[in-house]
Symmetry: C3
Subunit: 138 residues, 3 copies
Amino acid sequence: MQAGFTIQTRGTGLFDITEQVGGFVKSWRRDEGLLTLFVRHTSCSLLIQENADPDVRKDLQAFFRRLAPHASDPSMDWITHRTEGPDDMPAHIKAAVLPTSLSIPLSGGRMMLGEWQGIYLFEHRDLPQARHVVAHIA
Amino acid sequence: MQAGFTIQTRGTGLFDITEQVGGFVKSWRRDEGLLTLFVRHTSCSLLIQENADPDVRKDLQAFFRRLAPHASDPSMDWITHRTEGPDDMPAHIKAAVLPTSLSIPLSGGRMMLGEWQGIYLFEHRDLPQARHVVAHIA
Amino acid sequence: MQAGFTIQTRGTGLFDITEQVGGFVKSWRRDEGLLTLFVRHTSCSLLIQENADPDVRKDLQAFFRRLAPHASDPSMDWITHRTEGPDDMPAHIKAAVLPTSLSIPLSGGRMMLGEWQGIYLFEHRDLPQARHVVAHIA
C-alpha cells in the first residue's frame, strides 16, 4: 500500500505532519506493519522530534542555521555551488545530515510513536515550496 | 513479527545492544527478511558503529558533546528551551542528527552486520533513563 | 529478494551508484515494494543527494572535512583513537552523522526518487576501499 501527498511549506521551518500521516495509516486499516515515509527532495528533510514545547523546534532551526549558515556568510566563503541562491547549498548540507526517510512500526492500527514524538517536514529553503512525500506500508 | 524491549541506560554513553537484538532475531527463526529497530524517544538515538576499540565510542561522545554542549556553556546562549535542564536541548539536537530507526537485512537467520559493526543505544541525557525500543521483522 | 554487491572506491568522495541499484531493481521485476540499501562498514555512508551540479558533492565533502578534520589537525587534539591513521576517527564521526541504510519505495518497477535525487556511496577514508552493500526488496 502506497500513497503520495504534497506538503506546502511556508519557508524554512518544521511543519507538523503527524495527523496527516496518521490519517493515511487509519484509512489503510492495517493493524500491524511498518510505515516508511520518503521525501523526494534534497533540500528538505523528514524528522521525528519533540512535539511538546515549540521552543525545541525553534532551537533546532537555530542550531542548523549555525551549523550551515547562508553562503553569503563570511564563514561559508569556501562554498562553490552558488547559482541557486545563498540558501541552497546550506539546504543540501542539512538534507545530508537529517533524514530523507523514516521507518515507523505500526501496532493496533496506529504508529508506535512515543508520547513526545511528532513527525515533521523540515523545510531548509527560504521560500515556500511544494514537497512531495511517499507513504508506504508493508 | 514485532516486540518491544527496554534498555536501562546509566547516563550519557553508547550501550551495546547487538547481542540482545541478535537474540530476538534468533528466537523468531526467520531466515531472510528485514529488521527495523525504532526508539520511542527524542533525546537518545540508535546507532551502528565500530565494535572494536572502545576509544571510538569515547571519541564519538566527545565529538557530539562539542557539537552541542550543555545549554549552560557560553557558546549555547542562544538556546531558549531550558526548562528541562541544560542537557535536554543538546540531547534533542543529537537525536535530530543521529538515527531514530535502523534497517538491517537478515540472511541465514542472522543480521547482515559487517565484521566491525555493533548496534548501540546512544543515551544523550545526563541521568539514567529507561528507553523503549521496538523491533520489527518483515 | 536480496543481493550483495561491492563498490570499489577511489578514496574520499561521493560515488554515484544510482544506475547500478536501478539495474538490480529492474532485474527483480518487482512493481511495487520497498528497497532497502545497507552498507556493512562504519567508515563510509550511503546518501541520497543532488545529482545535477557536481559542485554540490564537492561542497558536501568540504563541509564534512571541516566538521571532522583529520586527527592531525590541531582542533582535533582531543581524539584518542589514532592507531588506524589520522583519517579513521573522522571517518567514524561522518559515518555516525550520515546514513548506514536507505529506504526507497518502488512504483511501476522503478525507485520513486525525485528528479534531482541520486544515490551515492560516500567514502570517508583517504585510500581506496572495497565497500560491501546489501540490497533488499520486500
